[in-house]
Amino acid sequence: MTAGGGATGEDVGRALADALAEQRLRIVASLIRTTGDWDLAEDVVSDAAERALLTWPRDGIPANPAAWLTATARRRAIDVLRRGQVERDKLAEVAAIEELTDDHTDPSPMGDDRLRLVFTCCHPALALEARVALTLKVVSGLSTEAIGRAFLTSEATMGQRLLRAKNKITHAGIPYRVPTEDLAERVGGVLAVVYLVFTEGYATSARSLADEAIRLGRLLVTLLPDSDETRALLALMLLQHARRDARVVDGERVTLEHQDRSRWRRDEIDEGSALLRRRWTVRGPYAVQADIAAVHASAPSAEQTDWPAIVALYDELLDIAPSPVIALNRAIAVGMSDGALAGLAALESAAEDSRLAGHYLVAAARGDLLSRAGLHEEALIALEQAIELAPTDQERRQLEQRVAELRGS
């Protein structure tokens, strides 16, 4: 379709979606910098999209839909600001926002408004839940209603949370800037937000959140090309997400051991693994976790997994980022690598950590290892204990199934 003739609704929808995917974030990010008005920036882009839906079917899809969107949003912003009697120099600044296209990219990524926006949304002076909500709303462009649904709260509650976050940015003087100090820490803060979005999508099986997190990960890899941990996080998410079709079958979660590996997405595994094959300057927890996921992804079955490599990676992870849950996972890997009795010894030493006291995963892992060691009676006792401690029905059902299997054998 070209300018002049009309266009079908389907073509318009597709062209608009593409243009928004390409330009929405740049327009919003540049308008926030020039006007300091977050709501205005988001509103004028929505207005421009609505206008496209009205005019494109009649006039045809413009030759450069993304540029049309930028120009329309900018004009609308100037109108609104003029009505609000904003100073002349600010208007000039808005008018100067260029029709950014892919061949017009800032040579220095630190000068990119999108990066400024990401760092501001993930500023440590905002509560973590506010950072997550703001990033999904302003960077990803999700609706307040969709974010509320993903985090099991009402649209009104989520709207309040977003409003409080935007107010704090204005009132507390949170700068719209890529940090110059503590950059590594601040990047870590951004990655934590993205990974939280991803794991939330994992926990609730809300695939759209996991997809959104991966999209954010890709954006960050573009914006921060030298950050090893950013690349590692994208790899980790791709490798974990590649298992999604095998992970939940008929609404029930399937453990890694029992997943149908032919349903893993090979293209995503290849992409994730390729990201890991580059040299590391910084090797942080995401890189090690991604390596663990890559070892699993390349194994034809649980039995044929390179378990000694997994144990070594868990050791490395415990060195960088000690955590009782990692020690627990390491014990399970030791059980696969060196036998159930070695695994039990590792498990009991991990379980000494008071933070794991009364955790169902310890009892479940103990039950597994005991049954592998042929101690069925002891295994049943541990699994019954795990069932009592399990936090949700889903986990209880899984454990009950294991008890049934053990009784049947």
């Binding site: 500023h123 003087g173 949170i174 700068p175 800037r177």
Partner: protein, 114 residues
């Protein structure tokens, strides 16, 4: 932007390092006075010297001690004039009390602002 920087002490906190020496704080003060970032500030006497004043039902109530039961107390304050919150955080992070206590940054709220 102007920030009130409250220097909060919690003498009963576990694993609390010793209070910094006075001359360490004086160094911090002179550095930030020289850069023009610190407008004014003072150390405050502990809660034993505090007096609370309220008017309730027409009656003026003057009582001994601070208005909260909290074991934390404000040991001092500084007014900072900063470009933005990041600059205020950077300055607060160098205050000697940041390890032994807690520092709270509160932006000013001028009456003509929403």
């Amino acid at each position: 932007m102007k920030y009130m920087m409250l220097v909060v002490s919690d003498p009963e906190a576990a694993d609390r390092p010793a209070d910094p020496a006075v001359d360490e704080v004086e160094d911090w003060v002179s550095r930030n006075d020289a850069s023009g970032k610190r407008v004014i500030g003072e150390r405050l006497r502990p809660p034993e010297s505090a007096t609370t004043v309220r008017r309730r039902g027409g009656e003026l109530l003057v009582t001994d001690g601070p208005f909260t039961e909290s074991r934390e107390w404000i040991a001092g304050f500084d007014i900072l004039e900063c470009e933005d919150l990041d600059e205020a955080i950077a300055i607060a992070a160098t205050h000697p009390m940041v390890a032994a206590g807690t520092i709270e940054l509160r932006p000013f709220w001028p009456f003509d602002e929403a």
